[in-house]
Subunit: 352 residues, 2 copies
């Protein structure tokens, strides 16, 4: 006879992801992402979460792992998976920032609650029957030749919207290459903070001529509000903040200074705060994009549950992988489809 | 053999509430409130909701009833109680405002979802184990003698915080009377929009001397932002907006102009938008009070499920009644306690 414990049991392990191609953004290029898989066990059920720490969000696989070690060995997670907000408050009290680590706990708790109720998160959130936006596919920074190859590949797969990374000394060439292959496909651009205000204004005019939709994070993460104000007034294209916005407090601070914000679970610390960010952004009449890191279908599917709340989706993290260890939301003719008949996040390991 | 229909069946009926004493605010005095009870039936379960229309929110029992008739006879509610946001979007598309009517539908859907999952809303929201504020008790406008009697009664019951209605030509006398009986009890004041900026500044100084905590809605509902700005700068007490704030868009608009906001289900159109209002208010560093109308324990208990998210509670609507037709959240030594072992809202009719 086994004795059932009601404690939430936590374990974690590295989740090393390899991209199909080296993936370049203005901060650097890499072919792997060292994520971490978190499991929360309760009453025979397992909730799954994924941390995708990155140096430009002030986290590393090491900082996330050391927090997971601390949390697994303490009683900070408590013994009630339905106490999601209380758990997240305790984590926030114990350490500031480190939101991709917190996001993994938040995801795993949401997954567990769904599994305990035997319902998809879509039902727990009340989000049945809402339309979702098309998701885009990202063309990372690479030589113009490789950008050409990748774009051909993306068009062959049938991706409907492209997101193009910028922040090189040949930004125009990249756009020209893509527009040469796909004159009409909707394109949004992401500079990952690479430009000065002056550069951003000049580039915005060029990008507007190239029929680009909007620009993500043209200015550095900690650019002063006055820089955003000058840029927004001078730019013919809408300006979205990504790295400059983590939580709902950042959204309120940017009211009037940008046209949109990019939400990511790795920045908000999970689904709960992501909903608050989205609510605050909506109240301020911001456009909202849901983005991601290089993540498996675990993290991507968690994010996809909030797709009905936003205007644009950039949830291609798992599409970029050579070998996705999870199956969850499936790409289907522009849309990420979550299987709402599965409980919780609706994600399964491919290695079972 | 009966054939089960999966349609959401809606019915409604008047819910006439009588207060223990005539209840006066700056808009007028009344001893009854003509609310409306809504029932949504699905798979043998019934979700309950309450509309508390009032003329100063631009609704009447007649406007609410005619909408309920329309909705009950159409297919606008659909056939899936888990599609809460989609239903509310359809209602918003079909008619603007009328939020106490929409709130009744929102409550009934939440109640039904909880009953279908056999769980309290506290678990569906992830709000287990969070602290909640003390709730106050309201002393309505009345002669100084009656205010004295009511205050003595309230103190005898053991209420811990008082809310005092103002907006008469003997406002000071009311405060003096109460402070004479209870020199130290926390008091917040509500003028329901009765004052000019000049009056509000003068009264704020007096109320600060009387150790009042904050002032609710000193200015008229549609006072210009510049009036709020002048008042906030000159007032020694924090200024909260109530009638001027219905939805999260109103909260964002008031950023920087007030210190706090008052959320009510009858103003937001239910729990879903109330959460958005609270999230937006929190992001703007506003203090948040959850208030109510004259409501039975049905509407009050629905609101009490969001108590963990706010700083102050003013959920005394059912405490003011002579004969509460529902049992739900119970007043216990300052706190409203919801029975989390009951599914959904956790409310039962006393007449069963």
């Amino acid at each position: 006879m086994s004795v059932k414990t009601i404690k939430l049991n936590m374990s974690y392990e590295p989740l090393i992801l390899t991209t199909a191609h080296p993936f370049g953004i203005s901060y650097g290029t890499s072919s792997t992402s060292s994520n971490i898989l978190v499991r929360l066990q309760f009453e025979g059920l397992t909730g799954l979460g994924e941390a995708s720490p990155t140096r430009y969000h002030d986290e590393t696989p090491e900082t996330a792992s050391s927090l997971f070690k601390l949390w697994a060995e303490s009683d900070i997670l408590g013994d009630d998976p339905f106490a999601i907000e209380a758990v997240l408050k305790r984590l926030d009290k114990s350490v500031s920032g480190n939101r991709s680590a917190k996001a993994a706990i938040d995801m795993a708790l949401h997954d567990l609650v769904g599994k305990l109720l035997d319902r998809s998160l879509v039902d727990i959130f009340g989000f049945r029957d809402l339309p979702v936006p098309i998701t885009d596919f990202t063309i990372g920074i690479d030589s113009a030749e490789t950008v050409e190859l990748k774009t051909k590949e993306a068009l062959a797969v049938g991706y409907k919207h492209l997101k193009v990374k910028q922040g090189t000394d040949y930004d125009r060439e990249i756009i020209d290459t893509i527009r040469g292959l796909a004159p009409d496909i909707p394109i949004r651009v992401d500079a990952n903070g690479a430009w000065t205000v002056k550069e951003a204004i000049s580039k915005a005019h060029y990008l507007a001529e190239q029929n680009v939709e909007f620009i993500e994070q043209p200015l550095p993460k900690y650019a002063p509000l006055s820089d955003w104000q000058v840029l927004r007034a001078a730019s013919p294209l809408p300006i979205y903040a990504d790295e400059s916005v983590s939580t709902s407090i950042d959204v309120a601070r940017l009211a009037g200074y940008v046209d949109g914000v990019v939400v990511k679970l790795a920045k908000t610390g999970g689904l709960a705060e992501a909903r608050r960010v989205i609510n605050t952004a909506r109240a301020n009449n911001f456009k909202i994009m849901f983005g991601c890191m290089i993540e498996s279908s675990l993290g991507i599917t968690a994010a996809a549950h909030l797709a009905p709340l936003v205007d644009h989706l950039d949830l291609d993290g798992a599409l970029l992988l050579a070998d996705d260890p999870f199956e969850g939301a499936v790409y289907d003719d522009g849309y990420l489809k979550v299987d709402y008949s599965l409980p919780g996040l609706g994600v399964r390991s491919r290695k079972q």
